[in-house]
Amino acid sequence: MSTLTTPSKEKKRKSYASNQEVRWCPGCGDYTILKQVQTLLPTLGVEPENIAFVAGIGCSSRFPYYMDTYGIHGIHGRAPAIATGLKTSRPDLSVWVITGDGDGLSIGGNHLIHSLRRNIDLNILLFNNEIYGLTKGQYSPTSQKGHISKSSPQGSLDNPFNPLSLALGSRGTFLARTMDRDPKHLQKMLERSYQHKGTSLLEIYQNCIVFNDGAFEPYTNKATRNKTSLYLQQDQPLLFGENNRYGVRLDGLKPVVVDLQEEEVSADELWIHDESDKTKAWLLTTFFENNFKDNLLPRPFGVLYSEQIPTYEEQLQIQIEQAKERHGKPDLEKLLKGNDTWVVR
C-alpha cells in the first residue's frame, strides 16, 4: 500500500471530510494530521458510519468536526472517558480519541492512564505541541522545563511528563511516536494504531506555529533531524544519521551511540528493535531524558511497544455471555419479585 496521496485517494479522502470549514491557524501542524487521517480511513475497510471521533477541548480537539464520521466534541480532558462509554457499549464501532498535551495530560491525565491500563480498544492520538494552544499559550505538562510563557514569565518549574514513559508505567499496550512533518510515517503509525486491539497511544509531535513554533525543530529540520531522529523498525538494528552512520548498542543496561564509521561494530552487536520487549520499550522512552546530554541519544519514532492482551470490552462481552448462560433469558417478573413475596387478598 502506498501511503502517498494519489488523485483517486484524494477523492476518497474528501469523502471522509465534513462540510465544515477547517479553522486552525494557517500553517498549524493539525492540518497534516487531519489530512493523513482522512487519507488512511478509506483504506481500512470501515465505513464512516461505523467510526466515531471523540475529543476533549483544545485546538486539536476540534478535529471531530472536520471528519464526516460520527463524533463528539466533549469537555476538557474527558475524551477517553466518553470514548470508554461509547466503545464499551458499542464494541462494533471504531473509536478514535483526539486529545492534546493539555487536554490529555493535564486535566485529563487520569482518564488517559486509566484507559491505558484497562486496555479498551481506543485509538488515542495525542497531539503534542508542548503548549496550550486554544487558551493562547500557557506552558503545558510537556513543555520543556524553564519554558517562558504567559503563565511562566520566569520559566516553568515543572519537570515535563515524558508521555510514553507515563503510558508505559500505566500499562499501555501500544505506544508509538510520530510527527506532523512526516506524513508518510504519520500515516503508517495511524494505521498501526488502528490495527492494534487495545488502547493505542500515538504521540504526534505537532507544531503550534503561533505559540510554540519550532518546538520540534531538531527532529524536523533537515539539517539536524538525521542526527536527532531514529526510526524504529521491528527486528532491525537501531540505526540513524546520514546513511545510517550511527547505531545504538546496549552497554549492559545503558544505551550507547556508536559511530559505525569510526568504530568497528557488527550489526548484530547493535540493539535490535523488538516491539514486544517492555524493558527495551522503557529504555526507548527514556532516550527522551538523555537528549542533549553527552551521550546524545536520538528521539525514537515508530512503535516503541506493542503487546497483545485481551481488551476490556472483549472480556466484558464474555461476562455478558456468561451471565446470559447462567441466568437465561431475562425474566423481569422474576427479578421484580426477588426472594420473598407475599400475597394480600
Partner: protein, 617 residues
C-alpha cells in the same frame, strides 16, 4: 400470673446490639414475618458510621427499627415501644428512642463489667436499674447463657453457638407479637442449605426463645396486631436502592434499549452499582469508573451510542458531575443521574440522611442549564420515580436528576409488585432512515418535534452521520454557531423542552384533606411518610390541614400554583435549611413557612405534628 392478650393498632420495635450480633438479619426476618401476617410496615436499618468499630463500643452499635400495624404505616416510627438491647452499648446508644414506659428486652450477658466499660458507662453505674427507675419496663434475659444451654448438644463451638443469640431473642419477640415461626424456619433452612447443622441450631435457638417466653411468663401482656387494609396483590419488601436497580432493569426492557451505568462508589449510593452489576443479562453494562467525572462522561458516551446512560452518586459526587451534566444538556442526549443524598455540606455526615441537594439539582451548573428533577417519596417510590426518570430522559432527550436519600435508600417498605405487562411504554425518539431507501432528505440532528425534542440518531447509520459537542449549536444543523440570535433561540429551546415535560407529568393532587382551607403542608422527597403520619394524626385531632407532596421538582406540575392559591397558609417541612421553600416563593410568590430540621435524621412525626397544630393557634 397469666398473660393478658391485647390488640394493638401500631407497634414499633427496635433491635439493637453490636455490629457482630446479627441485628440486621434479625430485623429483616421480623419484617418478613410481619409482612406475611398482613401488617403494613416500614423499616429502617441504622448502621454504625465505622466499618467495624471495636466490639462492645457505642459507635459499633447496629440497630434495626420496624414500625408495623393494622393501619397504613408511613414511617419506621419516631420512637419505639420495645427496645431490644444485646449489650450495654446498645442501651446507651438507643435508650433515647424508647417511648416513655416502653419495654426494654435486655441480654443480661451484655451488661457485665467489661461491657459497661466498653460502653463508657461509669464503673459503678447500673444503667438498667436507672432505666427501670425512669419508668421503663425491664425484661432481663440471660440470652447468651440460655442460647448456649439450648444448643449444648449440637456439638457446635461456643463461638458458633453465640451466633444464634439473635435467633433466641427473635423467638422471644415472635411470641410477644404472636407471630408464626415458619417463615424464618424456611429462610434459615434455605440460607444454610449447605450447613444444615447451623440451620438446625438457629431454628432450635429461636424455638427455645419462643418457649422461654411462654414458660417463664416474663411478659405480662402479649399483643396481636390485625392485618392492615392493604390493597390486594403480591408484595415484597424493598429498599430504595434496590428499587432504583429494578426500575432501571424495567426501563431497559420496556424501552428495548441497552443501559450503561457509569458509577463511582459512594455512600449511600453504592448499592445501585452493586445491584446493576449483577444484571448483565438484562442488557445492562456497569462500569466502575476512576472518578465521578469519568462515570458520567462514560454514560454520556454510551448515550450517544444508543444506550440509556445512567450515573449514580451522592451529593459530593454529583457536584463533580456538574460540568458534564451541562454537556449532556447541550448534547441533548438521554441521561439519568441518581443522587442518593446524604448530610452535607462537603463530606458532612456521610451515613446520615438529608435532602439538601435540591438547590444543586435545580441550579448547580454554569450557564442557563435546564434539566428535569424528580424526587422519590419512599423506598418503593424509588421504583416509580426512577422508571419515570428513564422515560423522561429518553423521550425528551434531556438529563434527569432523580433525588433519593440515605433514609429511603436503606429503609424498606412493602412494595406491591407491578404487573410487567402494565408497565407503561418508553418510546425513544430514535431516527433510523433506511440506508438503502430513496429518502434523500438531509438529516437535521437539531430539528425538533412538538415537544422540542431532537431525533436520536445513533452511530451505524450512513444517513445520519453527525457530530455533536458542547459549543453552541446552530438550530437544525447542529453545526457550531456563534450567531447571537441563534444562541438566544437555542437557550430558549432548551428551556422550553424542559418545560414541555410538564404536559406529560400528572397534575398535582391533594394527598390528604380538602383541596382548600386554612393550611396546606407541601412536602417533597423522603419526608412523605413523616408528613403523612403527622397530617393524619393532626386531622384525627380535628385540625383542618391538607397535604400535597411533590415528586416533580422541575418542571413543576402545571396546576401547582392554582392549588397553592387555595390555601391561607403553606408550610414546607424539609430536612435541610430551607430549599423548596425558596422555589415556591420564587415561582408562585406565595407566603410560605418552613419547618426545617438538619439533624441527619428523618423528620419526627410528633415534632411536625406539633408545628402543624401550632399553625392553628
Amino acid at each position: 400470673m397469666s398473660v393478658i392478650e391485647k390488640h394493638k393498632k401500631v407497634v414499633t420495635v427496635r433491635f439493637s446490639g453490636d455490629s457482630g450480633d446479627g441485628i440486621q438479619l434479625t430485623g429483616s426476618q421480623f419484617s418478613n414475618t410481619t409482612a406475611l401476617s398482613g401488617n403494613d410496615l416500614s423499616t429502617f436499618p441504622d448502621y454504625p458510621a465505622e466499618i467495624r468499630a471495636p466490639a462492645g463500643s457505642v459507635h459499633g452499635v447496629s440497630a434495626f427499627q420496624i414500625n408495623f400495624g393494622s393501619q397504613r404505616i408511613h414511617t419506621p416510627g419516631d420512637s419505639c415501644d420495645v427496645l431490644v438491647v444485646m449489650n450495654a452499648a446498645a442501651l446507651k446508644a438507643n435508650i433515647t428512642s424508647l417511648k416513655p414506659g416502653g419495654i426494654i428486652i435486655a441480654n443480661m450477658d451484655g451488661f457485665g463489667k467489661k461491657d459497661l466499660a466498653l460502653a463508657r458507662y461509669d464503673k459503678t453505674s447500673d444503667p438498667l436499674g436507672d432505666a427501670k427507675k425512669s419508668g421503663f419496663q425491664l425484661i432481663k434475659i440471660d440470652v447468651t447463657k440460655l442460647t448456649r444451654e439450648s444448643l449444648k448438644d449440637t456439638g457446635l463451638s461456643t463461638k458458633e453457638m453465640d451466633r444464634s443469640k439473635n435467633m433466641f431473642v427473635l423467638g422471644v419477640v415472635y411470641w410477644l407479637y404472636n407471630r408464626p415461626l415458619d417463615p424464618t424456619i424456611e429462610f434459615l433452612t434455605s440460607k444454610f442449605k449447605s450447613k444444615p447443622e447451623i440451620a438446625e441450631a438457629n431454628i432450635k435457638a429461636m424455638k427455645d426463645g419462643y418457649s422461654f417466653a411462654i414458660a417463664t411468663e416474663v411478659f405480662s401482656e402479649r399483643y396481636t396486631i390485625e392485618a392492615a387494609p392493604i390493597e390486594p396483590g403480591s408484595y415484597r419488601n424493598i429498599t430504595g436502592n434496590d428499587a432504583v436497580v429494578l426500575a432501571i432493569a424495567s426501563a431497559a426492557q420496556t424501552s428495548d434499549l441497552p443501559v450503561f451505568l457509569g458509577s463511582y462508589p459512594i455512600t449511600p449510593a453504592s448499592e445501585i452499582l452493586h445491584g446493576l452489576s449483577k444484571l448483565k443479562h438484562y442488557g445492562i453494562t456497569t462500569f466502575q469508573a476512576e472518578d465521578e467525572i469519568a462515570a458520567i462522561t462514560s454514560a454520556i458516551g454510551a448515550s450517544y451510542g444508543g444506550s440509556i446512560g445512567v450515573t449514580s452518586s451522592s451529593g459530593p459526587g454529583v457536584a463533580l458531575k456538574s460540568e458534564a451534566i451541562a454537556l449532556a444538556t447541550m448534547l441533548e442526549l438521554p441521561l439519568v443521574i441518581i443522587n442518593v443524598q446524604r448530610a452535607g455540606p462537603s463530606t458532612g455526615l456521610p451515613t446520615k440522611t438529608e435532602q439538601s441537594d435540591l438547590f444543586q439539582a435545580l441550579y448547580g451548573r454554569a450557564g442557563d442549564c435546564p434539566v428535569a428533577v424528580l424526587a422519590a417519596r419512599s423506598p418503593a417510590d424509588c421504583y416509580a420515580m426512577t422508571y419515570e426518570a428513564c422515560k423522561i430522559a429518553v423521550e425528551h432527550m434531556i438529563p434527569v436528576i432523580m433525588l433519593s436519600d440515605g433514609y429511603i435508600a436503606n429503609g424498606a417498605e412493602p412494595w406491591k409488585l407491578p404487573e410487567v405487562k402494565d408497565l407503561y411504554a418508553i418510546k425513544p425518539p430514535l431516527y433510523r432512515p433506511a440506508e438503502n431507501g430513496s429518502d434523500a432528505s438531509p438529516f437535521f440532528p437539531y430539528s425538533r418535534n412538538e415537544d422540542f425534542v431532537r431525533p436520536w440518531a445513533i452511530p451505524g447509520n450512513k444517513k445520519t452521520i453527525h457530530r455533536i459537542g458542547g459549543l453552541e449549536k446552530e438550530d437544525q444543523t447542529g453545526n457550531i454557531s456563534y450567531d447571537p440570535d441563534n444562541h438566544q433561540h437555542m437557550t430558549r429551546m432548551r428551556e422550553e423542552k424542559r418545560d414541555a415535560i410538564a404536559k406529560k407529568i400528572p397534575l398535582q393532587t391533594i394527598d390528604e384533606g380538602p383541596d382548600q382551607g386554612p393550611l396546606l403542608v407541601v412536602g417533597w422527597g423522603s419526608t412523605y411518610g413523616s408528613i403523612k403520619s403527622a397530617i393524619m394524626e393532626a386531622r384525627e385531632e380535628g385540625y383542618a390541614v391538607s397535604f400535597t407532596h411533590l415528586k416533580y421538582l422541575s418542571p413543576l406540575p402545571l396546576n401547582l400554583g392554582d392549588l397553592l392559591s387555595r390555601f391561607d397558609k403553606i408550610l414546607v417541612p424539609e430536612i435541610n435549611n430551607g430549599q423548596l421553600i425558596h422555589v415556591l416563593r420564587d415561582t408562585y410568590q406565595v407566603q410560605v413557612e418552613g419547618f426545617n430540621k438538619v439533624r441527619g435524621q428523618p423528620l419526627k412525626v410528633h415534632e411536625l405534628k406539633a408545628a402543624i397544630i401550632e399553625e392553628f393557634s
